[in-house]
């Protein structure tokens, strides 16, 4: 997948609003593979909504979204599963980790279906992110900042053309944000992928090609 096109996409709940002045809603816009985008917005303007449209979680919008030239509203459940395994990776704002599994198991449950990274590569990422001591700890027993890092490792355990980062460093200090940035940059570069990051202020320090407002 090389390009994501949004043609006059407006969330249905915003359809009566006349004051949509941002760069995306109601406009024609494209995300290209290999580029980095930062979407800046105050809360309630639809950052996560945009992510959920691009990830097939929700379809309550007007307009069309195209992956390459395919209208995503026509994709089947299995096609979405394929896209989620191969083309788009998503670091969810609410992480969507499994509380009863350990940190490592949460990563493995993804890697088991993609076979994208070796065990040692995964352990190296834990090490790099400073949470190697939490590998066998249940995910609901560690802090949200640590969980964010586990969720990142899981998000990287697959091939992708685009990486969606929904407020990825909301609970991280600057040092850890920097480590995360390095890892993401390295992984995305190796995959030639585009990055779409959202932020409500504190944003991850990529060398962005484009900063957008919602």
């Amino acid at each position: 997948m090389d390009i994501i096109r949004l043609n006059r996409v407006v969330p249905q709940i915003f359809s009566n609003r006349e004051d949509l002045s941002g760069d995306i809603w109601g406009k024609d816009f494209s995300f290209e593979r290999g580029k980095r985008y930062l979407i800046n917005a105050s809360s309630g303007t639809g950052k996560s909504t945009l992510c959920s449209y691009l990830y097939g979680q929700r379809g309550d919008y007007q307009g069309t979204i195209l992956f390459d030239n395919n209208d995503i509203s026509t994709l089947s459940t299995n096609q979405w599963c394929e896209i989620r395994q191969q083309s788009i990776s998503h670091l969810f704002q609410d992480l969507k980790l499994f509380g009863e599994l350990t940190a490592l198991q949460n990563v493995e449950i993804k890697n088991n279906i993609t076979h994208s990274k070796s065990q040692s590569e995964i352990l190296a990422l834990f090490e790099e992110l400073g949470i190697s001591d939490k590998i066998d700890t249940r995910i609901d027993r560690i802090s949200f900042g640590q969980q964010q890092r586990v969720a990142l490792i899981r998000a990287l355990c697959q091939p992708y053309s685009f990486l969606l980062l929904d407020e990825p460093i909301s609970h991280l200090d600057d040092a850890n944000s920097e480590i995360m940035r390095t890892i993401i940059e390295r992984d995305a570069k190796a995959k030639g992928a585009g990055i779409i990051a959202t932020s409500i202020g504190k944003h991850i320090n990529f060398d962005y090609d484009l900063c957008l407002n919602l």
Binding site: T77, N78, C81, E82, H90, E100, I109
Partner: protein, 398 residues
Amino acid sequence: MSKSITLIWQLLRKHISIFELAIFFIANLIGMVVILAGVQIYSDLKPLLSGEEAIIGNDYIVVTHPVKRVGINATSFSNDDIEELQNQEFVKSVGRFTSSQFEVDGSIVFGGRRLSTMLFFESIPDEFIDAIPDTWGFTEGDTTIPIILPRNYLNLYNFGFSSTQKLPQITETMVKSVNLGIELSGNGHTNEFTGRVAGFSDRINTILVPEAFMSWANGYYANVATDFPTRLILEVANPSDPNLMEFLEANDYVLESKPAESGKALFILKVCVAIIVVIGVIFSLLSIIILTLSIHLLLQKNITKLETLTLIGYTPSRVAMPYNALTLALNGAILILSLAVIFVAQNIYSDYLSQLDGITISSSPIASIVVGVALTALITAFNIFVINRKIKEISRKR
């Protein structure tokens, strides 16, 4: 693959209710055992009630045309009548009564006096005779004619006639040892034969001689090869079949003898088995409903996890896998357990029957295995269908 199943299983087993599964397990086990017991009992007992070694054979009925007035009635059956009967679904085979077309004079020397009477003979094909005596048969040149008498003739004498006339009662063996003088005449021939009562019949209400004798004698003394029969014997599967009764009525045929009560055993067995199987099916249906509800509830409790799994790229069929495996394991265990119960039960009742009456059941458990496997496959397929549909519904939710 197996590693991912282990992890999903660890995730999804959480809300599994042992209580609900136990209820399903017990209900379905009962249903399965009841159904299989019905099938097995039916397949074990059916050969005893029908077929070659039947203890209670098929039913035989004798039909005639009604005699409506004094004189000669048109009471014979044409070839068309016979063919029509033979083509009926409820008629297994048709036998013709052939009557003697010559004069028969029977005599017996009893207490120094010679009693003689005019007689007639009839014959039917051997396969319709209930008990064929060892001495049955005739070849041209024989001077002895074996005869089968209806057992109720003897009863009539012993319990009706002799007691009131102060005559001695006689046994079957005595009757069999008596020589009857038989004089046959017709077509310019007259010959003496010896008649011997070879056996008694509960089924055939006439003086029977072997068919071979009859066809020879009718040719020799009457110079007729065949005559249209006035009585027919029918072998039927179920004498109480309403279709049979309707047919007889429509054609104005008269049933000569009411079918024997014992012949209804097979019919009763079929009804009992049907009732048992219906009860079993109801149990199984209820258990399937319980399992379906239980699975729905389980999926509903795990809905967030299921959604998340599909969000990280798990296909609905992969998510369904542990649940499918669970139902397969449950249903497989039920099948094995219920078959074990049936085998034990079969051993017990076949032992009991063989002690009771020397009846040996040669039936194999194939019938219940086939039905059990088929039912399990059906139930499992339905469960898996329900699971997959529900998971697809969850993963489609947007």
